[in-house]
Symmetry: C2
């Protein structure tokens, strides 16, 4: 309970507070002997500098914020793993904020970050967000931001994504190649650039193969399983599609559920392909053909870039896009016959 702070160290060593501080920070104008004595005692007493005092003084918190829509999601989980691994390595602390796809919470979080609690932020935008001034404000205040996965194109900063258009195109093409004629798309919010890209990839592939598309073939899911399943079921009764291209894993599972309810066989009656980072996609019944993103690497890269920028703070983060390639892994859910 008794505080072991720099003052106490100074007292015990008969040195000034300044000397102790400089010794610990390995300043060049403290003698080697003094440094050793100071460090020895600090270790002995398990001295840990008070982060608030030092953050206050230095205007650096050695902390970053991660703002994401949800955490019960393999993609974000893997990304956090990547983020945490580089944070840990570089001695940074990671604060987690979950928006639950809610714009209001996102705004509230952004406001909180104005005050120096964190040195930078890694953000994946909420599905209900349409206005980006809360992020713009952060940016204007000079807080380094890196967007990943669900990026915000309107803000000039680093973005780390996957080749969403290309892989969606590829995915749709794969379904078509397996014999699908009427493919539905379970989309994420078209307000999100990532949602748009995935949808456009799908639309383009359909068009290129002269397959008709219409809005009635697209469900914009909302991350509420009950309601999503309802909408999907309705679409199935109405359109009787023979293929599903899901923009996220969760919706693919909703698709499985609906097929099961409607007694449709996968892949005989309906083929399913989804963006997914589920480690056990191969153990699903049937095993799920996926577009898998290098989520861990994405998180790692985003964090590494951010921290790198924080260390040598000169330039603000460039308005650059880093694009990772995702890969199509074919499994039973899209096999022909």
């Amino acid at each position: 309970m008794e505080p072991v702070n720099i003052k106490k160290l100074a007292q015990l060593l008969n040195l000034s507070i300044a000397t102790v501080s400089k010794a610990l920070r390995d300043s060049y104008d403290i003698s080697k002997e003094t440094k050793e004595k100071v460090v020895a005692l600090a270790n002995e007493l398990n001295y840990q500098p008070n982060p608030h005092a030092s953050s206050l003084r230095k205007h650096k918190s050695k902390t970053i914020a991660v703002i994401i829509p949800e955490i019960a999601n393999n993609y974000f989980t893997l990304a956090i793993n990547g983020i945490e691994s580089v944070a840990q390595e570089k001695g940074y602390h990671v604060l987690i904020y979950l928006t639950h796809e809610d714009y209001k919470r996102e705004v509230a979080f952004a406001r909180e970050l104005f005050n120096g609690r964190v040195d930078g932020a890694l953000i994946s935008v909420a599905g209900t967000t349409t206005d980006y001034t809360h992020f713009k404000n952060l940016r204007d205040k000079g807080l380094p931001i890196v967007f990943f996965d669900r990026v915000c194109d309107e803000i000039d900063t680093l973005k780390v994504t996957t080749d969403d258009f290309e892989s969606s195109y590829l995915a749709t093409k794969h379904l078509i190649g397996q014999g699908c004629k009427k493919i539905t798309h379970f989309a994420i919010s078209s307000k999100l650039s990532i949602g748009n890209k995935r949808k456009r990839g799908y639309l383009q592939a359909m068009a290129d193969h002269h397959l008709p598309v219409s809005d009635s073939l697209i469900v914009e899911c909302i991350n509420d399983d009950d309601r999503d399943i309802e909408m999907i079921e309705e679409l199935f009764r109405r359109e009787k599609p023979d293929g599903i291209f899901a923009a996220v894993e969760r919706y693919a599972m909703d698709g499985y559920e609906v097929c099961s309810r409607l007694n449709l066989r996968i892949p005989q009656d309906v083929k399913v392909l989804s963006f997914s980072n589920l480690r056990i996609a191969s153990f699903l019944n049937p095993s799920l053909t996926t577009i898998t993103q290098p989520a861990f690497d994405i998180g790692k890269e985003a964090a590494a870039r951010l921290l790198n920028n924080l260390e040598k703070k000169h330039a603000p983060l460039a308005n650059e896009s880093i694009v990772f390639k995702s890969s199509l892994i074919q499994r039973a859910s899209t096999s022909s016959i």
Copy 2:
């Protein structure tokens, strides 16, 4: 970039810093009119108090740490969801630390928490941890700790768990009821109290049903898929079991993998049951019978208790155990025939 701090507010309002501070904190000796003016300007300028300054002064950080072994795990993901929900509600911030089951990192994290960065911690112990002095030190320094899931019995504080012994007993009994005679157990570190309880539940059920058990039927997995699968495969070749009781989901999936490699059919040749919080356990091939824990509620309860204790700090957290009930959900992986 220009800092909008309490000083600037004071200047603009022609008031002293003290008055502004007190007005914002709704102190009783500031007039209503002044308060209103202060609050109005603060909102207009989007003033956010510097958390480091106030933490330094108040010795409170409004931040808690969550130390867990891993995050790519549905249990912990759900628990974090629960934790974050109450933290958000009560205005707390959540720092995440992943030990990756590594004792050394756990010790390092614990040391970091000595310095007031956080007001309290929620901990789930790493599998390789055998010595608990790093946590004892925290406790002795007066830092409130709540253990959840993988608790540390040797430390007097609040623990939130599930009825591990009972549900393991039940699980094993279920397998036996479905016709299994030779059940293997994929265990987590026996150094963990939770590992022990699950193992004991299994052993007790086997004993009560007069089935022989031996160490050769138990694999203590280590969270490294390749090596775990190797060990499991070896056990299968050696023992030819007809049932698997996995202490965590991941090992069950390793079991699926091994069965697939050895051309063993589930559930005809081998029945599988596992602790798991996989939302889509029912879509596995075959669907997996699970013991499912109320992970979200566990996280929520643990966090609520911790924060509650932080608010009215008088008494240290009682050495109490809160036990949640988990439920057995029967699916195809254990069906007879």
